[in-house]
Symmetry: C2
């Protein structure tokens, strides 16, 4: 909302009762020029937003035949007779406008608040959207955002997401420099989550085409500055991007995990179709398992300790040999909370990626708790494999 120049002033949560909802519309529209309500548009007795909105506007609910036909069709398409209760979903307060729902039966509603102090942009606007998140989000993007853009002065806003891994938020901000300055257009914001930095490129222009062009240009500039730190766009995960690269290059991978205990195999197999490139995984949690399953020499463990560069390498090499894959990853470390020493603290993890060009190993020291350390280690391993697949 902020991105189209409409700040959020307040939010309310109310009980499913007509009086409460009417009062919420009353309070909200006293404060704000635009009010968005979600939920309460279903067909059951506790769905009261429609009725409350009509009462607040001082008008009647009216059946719209076009809506009724559409809802009936939704059911006949599924060989079901429309339950009588669903008829209410075809009712809209007189004078209001129905908003298309492409994912369910409940249409949204847009109404102008007449008889109240209008804003300099025209009468205040009320929107009622379904509560089901998928329906609500789609309706917001398709029907509400264009109306708000018009309300905010006919501006179009385009948001692109770019995903990065391998550097922290401040390093990325440093590389982007002036591009992230406040007040620029496109504006660039960053949000970190579990080592992944998501950059939002928000372009505002007088029309959608122009905004698209500006966002595309912004993305190009950004990619130029960040290079291989960028791994994907929109909602892509590292595992998804690595999986696509492996499948496209017809390469395979095996993993040998100690401290991550299956996290890396899980991330890889979260992706549908992972069997195209993932064949074997070992969770060699004990030293004995590292020896018997991956052929890691017992004296090597004795000499360097199970958490060492040498063992990560031996695990990766052993896994690649046994699985016969193009790549193999070995991970060994201390996930804690106990088991750390001064030389080898909690969070220390060695990660090796082996292929026929050799074995690359990274020594990492991850902060925080057991779950974060394990996840960060598995993600870092995926990122090392991604960079190898880029060459």
């Amino acid at each position: 909302m902020l991105s189209i120049g409409i700040p959020v002033v307040s939010s309310y949560t109310f009980a499913d009762e007509i009086d409460s909802i009417v009062r919420a519309f009353d309070l909200a529209s006293a404060d704000a020029d635009v009010v968005l309500a979600t939920g309460g548009l279903g067909p059951t007795d506790d769905d009261l937003t429609r009725q409350a909105l009509a009462e607040f506007l001082g008008v009647e609910l009216k059946v719209q035949n076009e809506l009724l036909e559409k809802i009936e069709k939704f059911f006949t398409d599924r060989n079901v007779q429309m339950p009588v209760k669903n008829k209410i979903q075809a009712c809209i307060p007189a004078g209001a406008k129905a908003l298309v729902n492409n994912r369910g039966t409940a249409p949204g509603i847009m109404a102008e608040v007449k008889g109240r102090a209008p804003t300099k942009r025209g009468p205040k606007l009320l929107f009622a959207l379904p509560g089901v998140p998928a329906e609500m989000k789609r309706m917001f993007e398709e029907s509400v955002l264009p109306e708000l853009e018009r309300f905010a002065g006919g501006q179009a806003v385009v948001v692109r997401k770019v995903k990065c891994f391998g550097a922290g938020e401040s390093t990325i901000a440093g590389l982007l420099g002036q591009l992230m300055q406040r007040g620029r257009n496109p504006q660039i914001n960053s949000t970190p989550k579990r080592g992944v930095i998501t950059l939002h490129i928000i372009a505002t222009a007088e029309n959608r085409d122009k905004a698209e062009q500006m966002a595309a240009k912004g993305e190009k500039l950004l990619r130029g500055k960040l290079g291989e730190l960028v791994y994907g766009t929109a909602e892509q995960s590292l595992a998804e991007v690595v999986g696509e690269k492996l499948a496209r290059q017809k390469k395979t991978v095996a993993v040998a995990e100690s401290c991550t205990g299956g996290c890396l195999a899980k991330l890889l197999t979260d992706i549908p179709g992972a069997s195209r490139y993932f064949t074997h995984g070992w969770v060699t949690y004990s030293n004995d398992a590292k020896r018997s399953e991956l052929g890691v020499p017992a004296d090597l463990i004795e000499k360097h300790g199970a958490v060492s560069e040498q063992i990560a390498q031996a695990m990766a090499r052993g896994a690649r040999k046994k699985a016969g894959t193009d790549f193999a990853i070995g991970i060994t470390g201390i996930a804690g909370p106990s088991g750390g020493t001064e030389q080898k603290p909690v969070g220390l993890v060695y990660i090796s990626v082996d292929d026929d060009r050799g074995c690359d190993t990274r020594r990492c020291l991850f902060p925080q708790d057991r779950q974060s350390i394990r996840l960060r280690a598995a993600q870092t391993a995926l990122n090392m494999l991604r960079l190898k697949l880029n060459i």
Copy 2:
């Protein structure tokens, strides 16, 4: 809140501005007998709840010397001089009461709203709590809940949680019968999450001891009806309970996973100290891996298909033999979204648990999506192992 007989009527989110916060207190206390505010008690310029509360109450903020000494001690204990800005945290609206913060510097505030229509229980109550979740929750439990219990009529409320796995919510409700009837004391509510059913036993009595006794009696009755469906209490996970049993009985386990792709090994190794009982895991995603790593005969796969009772058993037996553990688990199935057939649909999973008494296998058909199917399969495997450890 509902559990002590105080229903929630509404919630508000407001901007960090004095006027907005004053108005929020105004609106909320018009609606409700008790108002809880969180956040805005820190030492920085955008922390304004304290000031807004004083303005709303029509009184001055006053430094409380006892609080000031405590805050100064918090810093001197850490060998740091108290920043000047923190002095504001020792200020409380005149006539209000400070609430102890055992986890940070910001005391909470409790005030009575005088000069407004009092409730039949006395004047309306306002609470301001810190926004940091750990500080807020502890203060709520230690300082606010007893006040609310008094406000609600001097009643004490004790809540116990019991966790179940192996049956759905409606089956459990059927087994509990009258125990779950509305209006009973203790009251029992259930919430499902990823196959785990959590039962809340809420006992209300005139004092805490009595409520504790009633909750304990309720738990005993409930356990009598549910038997082995109950696996733990409070926040315990299945993996934690299984891990404790394995450690206590000095038993070990290995896992061989296909469709779960490491989820089961991950759940087991999420628990600190898992190396006491977990040694080996295999993710045999390809048929070749099942053959070479676990000794599953190729002609058995040919005959029954990789997703079959026979292969789950062969995986479990092969894993136990290779790892030399007391137990081994084999999982094979179709996590989807593609790969299903009429005979073997998406969601079909075979799970075997092998020990020296034999190999038990379950055929499961899990609903929903890839992630749910994988997690439910891994949890079901843990539950089968739990039941074996009970014998």
